[in-house]
Symmetry: C3
Subunit: 347 residues, 3 copies
């Protein structure tokens, strides 16, 4: 694919500084770009590379001073957003849109698949399952009995959805993710063994959710495990039974959220963070990577880190203090000796 500065500027409603005929055929970071590349400048850390970049076209913020340069610049109000729109355009051109029921798939006689949807080979659409229109059920996906999938939703190869779970519109779920496996619930018996607590609830995923690869979302013991509208979950995340993830909350890879916990709206949960069960996390909470959250967070819009987590600013102080600790212990011993000397003198 080849684009000219004029075409890109028109698409992104920018302002060209330089030659509108300049052409690009690839995208590269500003410090590594070669002739024929498009770059963008969003993070101020990279501003220093602007003067010397070899990129043929650079998307730049409207308000910065442009250097003398053979590059063509396109000034934009929101570089990151504009770059995202450009990638969407390229992505749209690259993507094929498979449609129809591919040979080798299994669609139960009682199941319904809407118009313009795709069901790939080796995909399994179970008894009474419903798939809306414009959705893509890639090869090897499994939809159990009574599963409902909305419109324009994409389930990538190998996604498994257990019986009775519901997935909304415009949802994206990546390969290997499991929706609706049994919650981890057992009743300890007097002899130390476990009796399984049946898990008869389901999982409900609302519109505009995206879920990464190999994530697991357990069904509720009863009622529903819920992923609210616009939430974004990364890869390899554990969502236990009866958890609720709030609207437009983002959870990074390998985080784990234990049973019945409710995470608020607009929260950010860092990678490898862990949240215990049966608590509530206030809206707009920012939980650091690897943090361990052991009790409810009641004040919204605060940062938390460490294990057990404290407010982020406290955590930084504790970390700094910890580095001084071996030396502090030495000084403490020193003081003890000195005070002994003084005490003897004053006897």
């Amino acid at each position: 694919m080849v684009f000219s500065a004029a075409e890109i500027s028109a698409l992104l409603q920018g302002e060209i500084v330089g030659n509108p005929e300049t052409k690009v055929h690839t995208i590269a970071p500003i410090d590594k770009a070669t002739k024929g590349s498009l770059s963008f400048l969003h993070n101020p850390k990279y501003f220093k590379f602007l003067a010397a970049t070899k990129a043929s076209i650079v998307l730049v913020p409207k308000n910065i001073d442009l250097p003398e340069s053979p590059s063509t610049f396109i000034k934009l109000n929101d570089v990151y957003g504009a770059f995202s729109r450009l990638l969407s355009e390229v992505s749209e051109m690259q993507n094929h849109h498979p449609k129809g029921i591919e040979e080798g798939s299994f669609v139960h006689a009682s199941a319904r698949v809407g118009e313009n949807s795709y069901v790939g080979a080796f995909a399994y659409v179970g008894e009474n399952a419903k798939v809306g229109s414009g959705s893509k059920i890639y090869p090897g996906v499994y939809l159990g009995r009574n599963v409902e999938v909305g419109n324009n939703t994409i389930l990538y190869p190998g996604v498994k959805v257990y019986t009775n779970c519901k997935i909304g519109n415009d949802v994206i779920i990546h390969s290997g993710t499991v929706i609706g496996s049994d919650g981890f619930g057992f009743v300890p018996q007097p002899d130390g063994s476990f009796q399984k607590m049946p898990q008869i609830g389901n999982v409900v995923i609302y519109d505009d959710v995206e879920i990464g690869a190999n994530t697991t979302i357990d069904r509720a013991t009863f009622e529903s495990t819920i992923i609210n509208k616009g939430a974004k979950l990364d890869n390899l995340i554990q969502i236990a039974h009866n958890v609720e993830i709030g609207h437009s909350t983002a959870v990074a890879a390998q985080a784990g959220i234990s049973g019945s916990t409710k995470v608020g709206k607009y929260c950010l949960v860092g990678g490898q963070a862990g949240i215990v069960g049966h608590i509530e996390i206030a809206d707009q909470s920012k939980i650091g990577a690897k943090a361990g959250i052991g009790k409810s967070i009641k004040q919204p819009n605060k940062g938390w880190s460490g294990r057990p987590a404290v407010e982020h600013i406290e955590s930084l102080k504790m970390q700094a203090a910890n580095k001084q600790l071996p030396d502090a212990l030495r000084r403490l011993r020193e003081l003890e000796k000195e005070i002994e000397v003084l005490k003897n003198k004053l006897k």
Copy 2:
């Protein structure tokens, strides 16, 4: 499904206080229940909701004082166990019992599948593999050469079992879990590269084990990686080669156990905990969430937490002390100044 208090009480051998004709059609937590719901009271934290609950039927412990209420109560010796039995009953009614070899599956001519078992579409039963009776091999499951699966065992969609692994009776394995992948063993070469150490052992899973979704259990280098009877493993757990998990031990999500480690019986391992290789964990050990266990635990029936893990009670003291640390450092500097003053006075 609609149940009356009389029916439920008969099933659970309880004692009705209220109207035996009261009917319920759903299950809900006691603080959110509406008319037509069944609730249960197990955790004392929730006792305060009993008087005001709108639940039509509530399962309650035998020995508590019942409030004036329009609800019907069923008194029970063991509310949680009884509730579990009730869910089993509902679950049994909800579940269909697929049977037979579904069209589109692959069963090798030399493989054997027992009576009343199910092999779903796109499931692969390899050369010389054996499946017992009453087992369910859901769509997309892979059983390699010589794999053995016992009776009444359920392998949910997409479970993969490599060559020579053995799975007992009444086992449940959830979607995406991998049994028998190669252990992570490499011989470092003089040039810094790695030579693969072949992994010719297998995995043996005994009866009554349940394993969650997307967990991985590597085959032994030689001999067997072993999951003993009644052990329960959650989602996204890593079990490395030659590990042994003890009888009725429960491991929570995202925990990882390194090579050749032996975890005892009746242990609890918390979420995201990590255990290094080549050690032994005594029976009934309780390992906290996110704990890092770096050496063998020899005394049984103790709690451990932190990284590196110490006894739980010590860990709590260290955590409390850590919070005071920034202030303690300030006080230490203060003392150093004061002692300097005293020393000068006494010169």
Copy 3:
């Protein structure tokens, strides 16, 4: 399989001490071996078991003193390497070598599969995908459009490779691993919701890489996420978009590496470690289990641990100091009292 000491010694170019006719049919650890077993002695910790072992044959280092024993010994320059070669031989005999396109697979008309390769049932080879010669595409594998797989590469059951990704020669990828899922990139909107940043790059995996089960490697936003030659990745690892893993670097299970980070050559990354995005890790770095790496590591060949990670030796000091902390706080209070007494005396 039965081997004689003479056969094993010839294969491994060792020197027999004892009866060359001694036969073994299994492999066992030296402290648990019974008659008919082969054992090996590599770790000095186990030397004490040599005199009493019941193993019929023991592989031993050339330079150790052999006890009086009914066992037959084979002296070797490099016991571990020799044992690895022996396992390879056994593994080779155990393995069958499936070939050809198995019935029930899907190979797009435009795809190409090389000589002596295997495509299992329910494997999907998409439009314009290419598989080299001698490779094994096991049942349930998905290769998207334009995917390229080299020669003698093994993709175990259920591996998913998204569009445009490239996999080299002699690569092994275990079940359930996902290559090329979308990076976790979203543009926050003024209303707090997220707009998806399209991910149009790919993943490139070079020769001799091995990747464990249920690991996820996201495609680059643009350009490539790269796993260099000879790198070894364990199970359940998260590799985010635009990451680069260096030549012959080994990453243990459940580690996570965030977006755009570049890990050097010959590094070791411990289990459950986390590395933030947009940093560089120097060659030969050794990162401890559960470590949290928050900034670039510039000096090569050092060990790091803790969270936030410090040099390993510092981390050990901090851990030791931490254990003394509750007591140190008590001593600090003591000193404060004593100094108060002294100050009063000197008033």
